[in-house]
Amino acid sequence: MGRRIGVRLLSSVPALFGVLVFTFLLMRVLPGDPAVFFAAGANAGQAEIDMVREQMGLDKPLHEQLVRYLWDITRGNLGNSMTTGQPVRTDLIERLPASLELTFSALLLALTLALPLGVLAALRPGTIVDHFVRFLCTLGVCVPTFVSGLLLIYVFYYLLNWAPDPTGRIDIFAANAPEITGFLLIDFALVRDWSAWRAAAGQLILPASTMALFVLAPLARMTRASMLAVLGSDFVRTAKSLGLSDLRIIVVYALRNALLPVLTISGIVFSTMLGANVLVEKVFSWPGVASYALDALLASDYAPVQGFVLLMATIFVMVNLLIDILYGVADPRATVA
C-alpha cells in the first residue's frame, strides 16, 4: 500500500507542474501591472515603477522569470507578497490552518446534518419528510453564502447578541492563542484552556454554519439517491427476510454500501469549499488563504496567487488520495489503484 501511495504521489507531479506553469503564464497575461499598482505613493513616477518592477523580478524576460520561479519553488521559496509585505510561504503557513479548520468544521457539520436527512428522505420517498429535505437543500444552494452569512450575523450578532462579534478566530481582547498546530480547537484542547476553546468554537459556529448550509444539498441528495439504490438491492431484501433489526440493516448494511459515492462527493465538496469559501472568509474577517488570494489577485500580486493555486492543487491531490484510501475502508473490493 505504501508503495502504491508513493506511485500515486509521483504520478501527480506532472499535473502539478502543468498547473504551476499555467498559473504563472496566466498571471502575466492578465492586463494589470503590479508594479504600477504598488508604486502608487504620492509623487511616485516612472522611476519608482521601474524600481518596484525590478524588486519583483518583473524586469527580466519571461522565460528567465519562469526558470527562476521554478528554481525558487524547489527550494521551498514561493516569493514575496507585496500585499502583506511577507514571504508567501509564511503567509500560507499562517493562514492555511484557519481555512482548514473552518472547512473541516463546516464539512463535519454538513455531514452530520446531510447523512441523517438523506437517509430519512430515502426511507420515506415522496412523503412530507422527503419534500422538507428537498426544500432545505434547495434553500441552502440558492442563497449565496455572503447573503446567508450577513443574515446570520444580523440576526445572531446584531439583533440577538448570541454570537460573538464576527471578526476572526478569537476574541480580539482575549489572550493570544498558543501556536502549536494553528488549529485553535486543537491547540486550546492541548493546553486545556477550555474557556478559550469554547470562545474559539463560538467564533467558528456562524461561518461554519454558513458554509455547511451551502454544501448541504449535494451531500444530502447524494446520500438519498445512493441509499435508495441500496435499499432496493437483493442483500437488503435478504437481510430483511432473515429478520435482522431495521437499525442494523440501515446503518450497518445499507449505509455502509451507500457511502461510496457520498465519500467521492465529500472529497470534491471539501476541495471546492477550501477554495470557494472566499466570501465567507471576507464576511467573517476570517484570516484564511482564500481571501488572501483574492486580495492579491485584485492587486495583480503574482506570487501569492501562484502560491495559492499550487497549494490548492497539492491539497486536491492529497484529498483525492485520501478518498481513495477511504474507499478501501468502506468497500474492501476497492483499492488504491
Binding site: 511616485a44 481582547f173 492587486a299
Partner: protein, 535 residues
Amino acid sequence: MEFNRRQGLAAAGGLAASVALPTGEASAQTRAETLRYVTGNAVNSLDPTVPGSTRESFGVSMNVYDRLAAFGRKRLGDNWVFDHNEIRGELAERIDRSPDGRTFAFHLRPDATWHDGTPVTAEDIKWSLDRCVSARSLAPPQMSTGSITKPEQFRIAGPRTVELMVDRPDRLALSNMCVPYAIMINSTLAKRHATTDDPWALAWLKDNTAASGAYMIEQHRPGTQTILRRNDKWKGGALPNFQRVIVQTVPEVATRANLVERGDADLSIDLQPSDVAALEQRGRVKVVSVPQTNGFTHISMNNTIAPFDDVKVRQAIAAALPYQHMFQASLFSRGRALFGADWTGTPPTADFPQPMPLALNLDRARELLRESGHPNGFSTTFTIGTGTSAWAEPMAALIKESLARINIQVDIRKLPDAQFNTGQAERSLPFYTEGGTAWLPAPDYFFRLYFTRPQRWNFASFNNEELNALTREAQFETDPAKYEAACKRMIGILAAEVPLILVWQPLHEAVMARNVEGYTYWFYRQVDFRDLKRV
C-alpha cells in the same frame, strides 16, 4: 447532611464573585483605556516608505514614529482638521529659519529617547534624513517636491542641532518634514540590521520599528491586526489618552458598521455614505463628517487623445454633466460641491480646490460641440475602477444618459483596480473618474502635481506653457501677494481650459463610540490616535 448543594453553590458563587470582581474591574478599565479601530485595509509595512505600503501603514507610522516637525490642527465648524500653515516641532523643540529662507535649524528635544531608552542624537537624525533622500523607497520623490534631494543638504550643526539647507527658498521644504515618509529612525538599532545590499535596513524596518513615537508596536500580524501600546516616555507632545490601540482588519464594510454601532469597536472610517447616513439617523454612534479639504474627485479627459485634445469638446462635456444629480446619486450629497460657482476669469480667492464655474447647460454644450466640428457627436469609453464603483457607478450612468442628449455615445467600462491604474499610468484611458488627495494642500503643489509634466498624476496629460511656468516660479515665491496672484491665474487657466473636471470633495467620515472625542481629519486620511480620548 443538610449542608448541600445550594449552600455549596452559594459559597462557590460568592468565592467566584469575590475572585472575579477585581479582575472584572481591571479588564473593564483596560477596555476603556483601549481603542479598538476597525478598518477595511491592512497594515502591510511598519515602514511607510516601502513601495506598496498602504494608507493604513501611514496612519500607524504617524503614531509610532516621530518626525522633526508636525502640522497643527484647527477647528472647522464643530470638527478638527489639520492646519498645514501652522507647523510645530515634534522631535525638534524649536525650528529656526534663516532670514533668506534657505536654512532650517532643528533643535532636538534634550530629553527625547528612542523606544529602547537610548537618547536621540543628531547623528540619528542625519542618518534618517539621508535615508529619506537616498534609499530606494517612495520617500525621495516626495522629498524632491520640497527641493530636498541629496544628503549634502543635511548638516550636523551641534550636539543636538541638525540643519537643512535648500538652494532656493522652497515654500514646501519644511512641510515635507511633516509627511508620513519623513520618519526619524534610531540609526544605531537600524544599522545593526543593514546589509551591503540594503544599507538603509528597508527589509528589517518593514516588520520592525526603531522609533521614538507616542506608541510602540505590541503585536504586528500583517494583513490581520496590529496592536499599539502607549510609550509613556514620549516627549513629542501631550501623552495620549489611550494606553492601547487595536488596529484590526475587518474586510466587510457592513460588519464594521455593526461593530461600532453595537459598541464592540470604538472607531471606523471609510464606511459607505449610505451606511453612515443610516447610522447617523439611528443615533447610537457619533459621526464626524469633514470635507476632505485636500482631496477631490475628478472626471478626467485625456488631453492628448482626439477628440479631447480640442478645448471646445472639453468645454462641451463640462457643460453637459448633470452635476447636482451626480452629487446626489454618488455621495448622497455628503461632500463639498466643487461646481456651481458664478465667477468668470479670475477666482475670488487663491484657495484650491474651490468651486469652479461649472453648470449643466445642454444648449451651450450642443453649440460648443458644433463649433468643435462634431455636430453629430462621437463615441467614447468612460472607465471606472472596481474600488471606486460604489460612487463611480451611479455617476457613470448619469454621465452616459446626459451625454447621449448631445449625441455623445458613452460605453461604461469597469476595470479591476490594478488594470485601472495601469491604464491610467500608460495614459490609455480617454475618459475616466477617480479621486485624488494632495498631502500638502498648497495651490501651487496641487497644480504642479496634478496638471504639469508628463507623469502619472497629471491625470489629463495637460501641458500648458503658462501653467508650467507659473508652477515653477510659485514654488519659490516669497512675496505673499505675488504668490496669491499666481495661484489665482492657475485656477483661471483651469477654468478656461477644463483639462479635467473637478466635481466635489467627498466627506471624510469617521464613525465612533459616543464617548470618543477629539477626532481630527489629517492630510493622509487616517486616524491619529494621539488626538483621541474617551470621556
